[in-house]
Symmetry: C2
Subunit: 284 residues, 2 copies
């Protein structure tokens, strides 16, 4: 029989524990349905009045991890993004790689002269006649939303840069567009404003069919912080070298050698990296 218990959200608010919500969240791990149902039943048995969603999430992650490290990594994507560090740079790099996957030529962290002042643009992306200026808003804790002030300020930067772009040779026929990526969420008025002025907005779960999580799944561009076999210190050491993606680890196995990781762990890590990079193939 279903228990009806109240659990505590990140915000401190209480809400009824919802089995369907749990199952949906588990499905994003792309684990097979048997494992999803198995974990969900186990959680239902253990969930108690007043338990935090964080605790429930942690239990689910551990159960998944014991059966499938890759599913656990996928389930853990949101948290892996929060582990990219206190600066926004790895996130900008990830966004650049996602746009490359979509066929754009990109530059990350470029100083660009606008009409009034110069700006550091996180990602400039070009494909045929499309010329995008992307701002990345990175938060390393849950519940920090991206409010309307960010698209407002991004729009002014974009307008300032666009004036200058338009005056360049061959630019008058290009489609210029500003954009804003965040690893958390937009407030309602941030989406309302951004949509109204035609900024491209991407957040953890927006737009629903082409959100950040959907794009990462599709491209298989998981951050290396998703690798359950790496220690925190090893992740930090790789990030400090400017390495951000599982893919980069897989393509440069020498990196693991340099960290002094033994051969059997190296194999495990490379194996997981490959499975995460090639996520798209398993979906097709």
């Amino acid at each position: 029989m279903m228990k009806t218990v109240k659990i505590k959200k990140y915000s401190g608010e209480l809400q009824d524990f919802d089995m369907n919500k749990l199952i949906n969240s588990l499905r994003r791990s792309q684990a097979d349905e048997n494992l999803v149902q198995h974990v969900a039943r186990n959680i239902v048995d253990q969930v108690e009045e007043g338990m935090t969603t964080k605790k429930i999430y942690q239990m689910a992650f551990n159960m998944l991890k014991s059966r499938s490290r890759i599913s656990a990594s996928k389930y853990n994507l949101k948290k892996s993004l929060m582990e990219l560090g206190s600066t926004g740079f790895p996130f900008e790099k990830l966004v650049g790689k996602l746009m490359e996957f979509e066929g754009f030529n990109t530059q990350v962290g470029v100083i660009v002269q606008g009409d009034c002042v110069s700006h550091e643009i996180d990602v400039i992306a070009e494909k045929e006649n499309n010329h995008y200026m992307i701002e990345c808003k990175y938060h390393n804790s849950q519940g920090r939303f991206c409010n309307v002030k960010t698209p407002l300020y991004v729009q002014s930067r974009f307008v300032d840069v666009k004036q200058r772009w338009k005056s360049q040779v061959g630019h008058d026929t290009k489609l210029h567009r500003g954009g804003l990526y965040t690893n958390t969420r937009f407030t309602t008025d941030a989406i309302q404003y951004g949509t109204c002025v035609d900024l491209m907005l991407v957040s953890w779960d927006y737009p629903p069919q082409n959100s950040l999580k959907a794009r990462i799944d599709k491209a298989g561009l998981y951050p290396l912080t998703a690798l359950a076999t790496l220690t925190k210190t090893e992740k930090r050491q790789l990030l400090d070298k400017g390495i951000v993606l599982c893919k980069e680890v897989y393509e440069n196995p020498i990196l693991l050698e340099q960290l002094g990781i033994n051969e059997s762990r190296q194999r495990k890590i490379l194996d997981d990296s490959l499975k995460l990079c090639s996520a798209i193939n398993t979906l097709i």
Copy 2:
């Protein structure tokens, strides 16, 4: 003989103690020149290697206060603004009053529908054909500057609101302008951008001839936190009632009665309030 000692700035940086700078800062107290010179000589005798500017400022304030509470209050204006509290509301009110002094009709904290979203505008000010939308950026600690992101976001808000204003009856011939007031300072690129897009920018010391401090001196619109005779608790109680200015205290002596302040202190406070309110008359 002049000592050459290094003193420590708010930023932690060391710099040579500069007698002329001290004298200039003392002159903004509008104390008579004898008192200015007297305090300056006293400070020179007491200043020591590595002393902080904060300590030196405090000594100067105490010396002024013992001779002239009003001069001390004027000298202390910047700090009085920092004492307005953790929310920006008293500062918005002060800015509204300053614009009224300049002949505008003002509204403070108004929700306005823009073309894309609605905005809470700190101060709307109108005079003849001029229709201003002012954002107030309040900081309650030293060294927090207003960087370029603020005028960038203010400009987008202004553009969004202006679209709507322009469509209103009789508005097509009006001059619409955005503005930004801060009690601290703008970074160089904030001034460069704001000037380029024609925002009206006012900070503690910008524009030089018509800065926030100059406007407050001219209007005599000192915040009640400048009153050296009120305790911290009394200031907080008045601010909590929505009272912000010395002028309001002077015009409503019942407020002091309500706080349970005895008659002799009431007289002292009202006397100081009057002298601070009428600053302009003593200057003309």
